[in-house]
């Protein structure tokens, strides 16, 4: 991978990687550092990593870095609608639906949340998710089905409350 291809990876994956880390692990302040760390690793290993493998490498690195960061700092925050706002949200975007979406994501397991984010918001293929998550294809589909089912249950519960 040369500099041009690396820069192309930055253009294609930096936003998605940032959303993935930001939404999935709630490392609000560290999300930028994790993304930067992932691209630095990609740059260092650019001779061994080509363009086809760059996407999986970035997301695997981001997930591992997020997990390691959480384990070190125990900074994962239990979902609380009354808690501090995420710095990534603008005031005019803080709608009730956004809080509900974040609530839904926090009710998922880490694997289900990652699969759900990668599939539903980032549009990754099942094979890519399986590679990044080091799961089988069936495990990915089963977890995705369960994540959707959980989200559906939360949405139904909210409707009943309203």
């Amino acid at each position: 991978m040369n500099a041009n291809e690396y820069n192309q990876c930055v253009e294609n994956y930096s936003d998605a990687l940032y959303r993935y880390v930001h939404r999935g692990f709630r490392h609000i302040d560290d999300a930028q550092d994790i993304v930067q760390h992932c691209f630095e690793k990609l740059w260092v290993k650019r001779d061994q990593i080509g363009m086809p493998e760059a996407k999986a490498f970035l997301f695997v690195s981001a997930r591992n870095a997020s997990i390691d960061d959480w384990r070190k700092n125990h900074r994962i925050v239990a979902f609380d609608t009354n808690g501090p706002r995420e710095s990534g949200y603008e005031p005019d975007q803080e709608f009730e639906t956004l809080d509900f979406a974040r609530e839904c994501l926090q009710h998922l397991s880490e694997v289900q949340r990652s699969i759900f984010l990668l599939r539903e918001y980032e549009g990754h293929a099942y094979e890519e998710i399986a590679e990044q998550m080091e799961l089988t294809l069936s495990q990915v589909k089963v977890n995705l089905f369960r994540a959707r089912k959980r989200i559906h249950e939360l949405m139904q519960a909210k409707k009943n409350v309203l």
Partner: protein, 301 residues
């Protein structure tokens, strides 16, 4: 394969996406019909839309961009300019080499003779004036004249040593040596006073047109010098070449104290090629006194 409550989830996604094989699709449809609660879940997911999340963009993207080495591709005009420059440089080089070849050829045409080497061996006279058809003259040219070993101690030569150094560019000539037997016929200048020869008497020697010495510098040529030679001497000398030397008013130098200078042919050659000698023990002769120098040399014995 049998789809049941334990494994239906891994088929449900493909069933919703429509990527399930026809056999499994029919089996899945039958399973859902048999289990209405699961069918409700699957049907809901067919119209599933994930909750809306804010669009996030990575703020530090510019910091991640690495500089890329820019390679400027040369356009056709640039290549033409480079080619033209190269051709121009090549033309200058060829011109310089040709000039050097001409200079070298000019130097080779006037080789510096080794001391004691006969002049006739290294000179190539023209066909009409070389006298190559005469074997006697060729043999004589390689043989020093009798009485050659004596020092030039005549009053004429002593006066020559006192002459001022040469000053400017002029043209002198190489000459062919005279026959030894005929050299004896030369007379000493003390015994025979200088007589201005008639131009018609000097054979094969053109008579130069006299220029005004006050207005234009006098170009002293060998023809002019030899035109003033006594008749017996000029008859024995043949013009074989013309040399341009860097001393104007003439100027003849020869290391008279060196052994080889005793060779009168060598002295004669050196007189006509003063540029070949630069040592201090040389003497200078003005062009106007070349005939006297010839007379002094060839009448020594």
């Amino acid at each position: 394969m049998t789809i049941n409550r334990l494994n239906y989830e891994k088929f449900a996604i493909d069933y919703i996406d429509g990527t399930l094989s026809p056999d499994l699709r029919d089996e899945m449809a039958a399973f859902l019909n048999a289990h209405p609660d699961i069918k409700e879940e699957v049907e809901w997911q067919q119209d599933f839309t994930p909750p809306q999340l804010p669009e996030l963009l990575y703020p530090g993207k510019e910091k991640l961009i690495r500089p890329v080495a820019v390679v400027h591709r040369l356009r056709t005009g640039h290549w033409l300019a480079i080619a033209a420059s190269f051709l121009l440089l090549l033309a200058f080089a060829l011109g310089y080499w040709q000039h050097q070849d001409k200079v070298q050829m000019a130097q080779e045409e006037t080789p510096i003779k080794q001391p004691g080497q006969p002049l006739a061996e290294n000179t190539t006279p023209p066909a009409e004036t070389s006298g190559a058809d005469d074997p006697v003259s060729t043999q004589q040219a390689a043989t020093p004249p009798p009485g050659f070993g004596k020092e030039a101690e005549s009053p004429t030569e002593k006066s020559i040593l006192q002459l001022p150094p040469p000053a400017a560019t002029q043209v002198v000539h190489q000459v062919k040596s005279v026959a030894p037997a005929e050299v004896d016929e030369l007379q000493h200048p003390e015994e025979t006073p200088w007589v201005e020869p008639e131009p018609s008497v000097a054979q094969n020697i053109p008579v130069p047109v006299e220029a005004n010495p006050e207005t234009t510098p006098k170009e002293v040529t060998r023809e002019l010098a030899f035109a003033t030679l006594p008749v017996p001497l000029s008859d024995k000398i043949t013009v074989i070449d013309t040399l341009a030397v860097t001393e104007p008013a003439v100027a003849l130098r020869a290391p008279v104290k060196q052994p080889e200078s005793r060779n009168r042919l060598g002295i004669f050659k050196r007189i006509l090629r003063p540029e070949a000698f630069s040592d201090e023990e040389s003497f200078s002769i003005k062009e106007s006194v070349i005939p006297e120098a010839y007379a002094a040399i060839f009448s020594k014995d």
